[in-house]
């Protein structure tokens, strides 16, 4: 979501200069018409997406006692949250989770995608099998992993002969378990995105490379990877932003214990469980800033030309 907000204004900025010169009046009227057509969806998006963000930011400026508003607090909530340890712990936990899960999902997803792109007997069945984890609702797969990893009845421990190893009740294994569950669930999604990219690469390129004597590895690094770049970027951005908001897996599998309190788990605690809507809104606003910041950074660092569009295309 954060990505679409930052990508939307970009194309016109890049598209306007090359037009120029001739038939200026027609150009403007087309632009105005386009804006008119886009207006309803922009307004809808503003109502649905922008209003809650601004409202949360507004609420974060008030002091609450329980659910009752006590009065204007200025930036007190922000000072409290930013000087306390909980927020920063959650930021670190969330970042570790994001980096680890996205990295594994990418590598495994790439493997799956390459496999699914090959022509072989039983390809349909393989594709379907790989995609199964992704179609299971996250809460259900979280509950399933909870049962499998939990000491009792201990399916995974029995399988691996680990006895009473406490995956979910010890650090850092609780976080590892959640990363594992996330990778299991979303690697197929990454695979799907990459597969779509792979299928746009023309087969003749590989043929030509083969004729020229390129090895399989060379074909992968010289043809597949460069041409897959847009798909890779989309997959990484989606997964990064999504991982930064992770809530369901830790909520179901550990309840945020043993170093698995992510930003969203912390937000939920203050908005729903305590509740303290002022601090909750502060935390969710800060979370939004973190996610937005990382999203923008991401686009700036590796995806600028991909998002804005390659001028030569």
């Amino acid at each position: 979501m954060a990505s679409s907000a930052s990508t939307a204004p970009a194309p016109p900025a890049g598209a306007v200069p090359p037009g120029g010169e001739r038939a200026k009046s027609r150009e403007i009227s087309v632009g105005a018409l386009a804006r008119l057509f886009v207006a309803p969806s922009i307004i809808t998006m503003a109502l649905v997406a922008l209003f809650p963000i601004l409202y949360a930011a507004y609420l974060s400026l008030f002091e609450y006692r329980g659910r009752q508003q006590q009065g204007f607090a200025g930036l007190d909530n922000y000072v409290d949250v930013l000087t306390g340890g909980r927020f920063w712990d959650a930021v670190i936990t969330t970042l570790i989770f994001t980096v680890a899960s996205v990295a594994f999902e990418f590598v495994i997803g790439m493997g799956f995608a390459l496999l699914m792109n090959q022509a072989f007997v039983g390809r349909g069945v393989t594709r379907a099998t790989i995609l199964i984890p992704w179609v299971i609702p996250t809460v259900i797969s979280a509950q399933m992993w909870f049962f499998m990893l939990n000491v009792n009845p201990g399916f995974i421990n029995n399988l691996l002969g680990l006895g009473g190893f406490n995956w979910l009740g010890s650090e850092p294994w609780a976080l590892v378990s959640i990363i594992l569950a996330d990778v299991w669930k979303t690697a197929p999604f990454v695979a799907l995105l990459l597969l779509a990219g792979l299928q746009t690469i023309p087969e003749d390129m590989y043929e030509a490379a083969r004729v020229d004597g390129a090895t399989a590895w060379q074909r992968f690094t010289r043809i597949t990877l460069p041409l897959l770049k847009p798909a890779i970027f989309v997959a990484l951005l989606f997964r990064t932003v999504d991982s930064l908001r992770i809530f369901d897996l830790p909520a179901v599998m550990t309840g945020g214990s043993n170093g698995t309190t992510t930003l969203s788990v912390l937000v939920q605690r203050f908005i729903v469980a305590e509740p303290n809507p002022g601090v909750g809104a502060t935390l969710s606003t800060l979370t939004f800033v973190v996610v937005l910041g990382i999203g923008v950074l991401f686009v700036g660092l590796i995806g600028r030309d991909l998002v804005i569009g390659d001028p030569e295309d």
Binding site: M1, A49, P52, I53, Y55, A56, A57, G66, R67, Q68, N150, V151, N152, P153, G154, G164, F165, N166, L168, G169, S170, R245, F247, T254, G255, G256, S257, N258, L263, S264, V267, Q268, R269, I271, V272, A273, E274, P275, N276, G280, A281, S284, T285, T287, F288, V291
Partner: protein, 436 residues
């Protein structure tokens, strides 16, 4: 993220509105009830809406049977159940959304004993002082106390709850009465049978707080002063005794290896499959493990006893749970709703029904009548009338206190640092901030 939660809240609100509309349409015979606050306009003769959640609120569940009973006896004053979600937090959220807006769609509220303070201080509950006299001499003292806020009755007792120590009669002759004995007896039995000694609720959640409070009260400690303004947790050494017991139990393997990820059902799962010698759990587990409804490896081989203390107090210790019924202060029919809560607390048929369905009743006479044949009610009756019972203080900030306890007690008992004294003094500081 803001969006995600705002969206969640919006969906909750929509669901609530939808439910309210759907609920009032069959009643409001006018038919045109699209918006326009159809329910509110109706006023007087409308049915009362009882908002309560959980499995027992589902069709065929205990609460629906209670309501059916009322409707049979009072066809002119119908009551209808509005089913809330299963999770306690979500039930509280659904009710809070309605009450915060001063809505009158719910007349009767199923209130967990720990919500009373919060609801009362927000002015969401009608005072029940004028009907207190009608129930006071029939209802048990502990449950009644759980409905009080600053001495005033705000939630009528409906069903109560107290934990037991379950133990394997094929491995253990006499139930332990102190925690030292428990460590010995359950430990020895476990070693002999090659199973775990003890299971209970050790996951980071409200249930663990109850477990901790049982240790704390069993060591003679207190959490808060009577008026809820002062934190007494740091007085004396009960709090550290309790924490250190848990810490040792975890480190030395008295607790099952999975203790710190267990809630009620995981504990029952282990005990029921014969994997533990002793278990702390609520009464509901007793009938479920008798092998009639589910497969049970321990059918006929377990019994219940009061939860031990550190000093061997007779009657053990208990921290009350259960649900009371509050009357929405913004209801159009407060008087009618009060009639229902008094009836639910004192009617023999209702209270017996609750007892038979493993929701411990609050009416004292039911325990006398059924106690002789029903071992669970017999034991419970003794526990509930002893001095041993404790409550979770009915303070408005309970959920914040509980969150702090969950965080600190959990991280302290599952590791060996910092020292117990440090844990408790940190916790006292945090709770002090909550109650101020």
């Amino acid at each position: 993220m803001a969006r995600r939660f705002a969206r969640f809240t919006a969906v909750m609100a929509l669901a609530l509105v939808a439910a309210a509309c759907a609920g009032s349409s069959p009643e409001g015979s006018a038919g045109g009830g699209e918006g326009e606050g159809g329910g509110e306009g109706g006023g007087g003769g409308e049915e009362l809406v009882f908002a309560i959640g959980g499995a027992d609120a589902q069709p065929g569940g205990t609460h629906t049977q209670v309501v059916d009973l009322w409707n049979e006896q009072n066809p002119d004053k119908p009551v209808r159940i509005e089913v809330l979600p299963n999770e306690a937090d979500e039930q509280r959220n659904a009710q809070a959304l309605e009450l915060q807006a001063q809505g009158s769609n719910f007349d009767l509220l199923g209130v967990d004993v720990i919500w009373t303070g919060e609801y009362a201080v927000n002015g969401w509950l009608a005072s029940l002082e004028d009907v207190r006299g009608e129930v006071e001499d029939q209802v048990l003292e502990g449950p009644l106390e759980s409905g009080l806020f600053e001495g005033e009755l705000f939630a009528m007792p409906y069903n109560t709850n107290a934990g037991f120590l379950y133990y394997r009669t094929d491995l253990i002759d006499t139930a332990p009465t102190t925690w030292d004995e428990a460590r010995e007896i359950c430990g020895a039995a476990a070693e002999e049978a090659g199973i775990s000694a003890y299971v209970g609720q050790g996951s980071q959640y409200e249930g663990m707080v109850v477990n901790y409070l049982e240790y704390l009260y069993g060591a003679g400690g207190e959490l808060l002063s009577e008026d809820g303004s002062e934190v007494l947790l740091g007085e004396g050494d009960a709090a550290t005794t309790a924490l250190e017991f848990m810490r040792t139990a975890q480190a030395e393997g008295f607790y099952d290896p999975g203790f710190n990820t267990m809630t009620e059902e995981e504990a029952r799962g282990v005990f029921q499959s014969g994997g533990a010698a002793c278990m702390r759990n609520w009464p509901y587990a007793y009938t479920l493990m008798n092998g009639e409804e589910e497969e049970s490896a321990v059918a006929g081989n377990y019994d219940i006893a009061p939860i031990p203390t550190f000093t061997g107090t007779e009657g053990g210790t208990a921290v009350l749970g259960g649900f009371n019924i509050g009357v929405n202060a913004f209801s159009d029919n407060v008087e009618g709703a009060k009639e229902f809560v008094v009836w639910a607390a004192t009617n023999d048929e209702v209270q017996t029904l609750l007892g038979e369905r493993s929701l411990p009743p609050v009416k004292a006479s039911v325990y006398e009548e059924l106690g002789a044949e029903d071992p669970v009610l017999g034991q419970l009756g003794e526990i509930l009338t002893s001095d041993a019972i404790g409550v979770r203080p009915p303070v408005p900030a309970w959920s914040s206190i509980s969150e702090d306890m969950q965080e600190t007690i959990y991280s302290c008992y599952t590791s060996d640092s910092p020292p117990a004294e440090q844990c408790i003094s940190d916790l006292v500081t945090a709770i002090q901030e909550d109650v101020e």
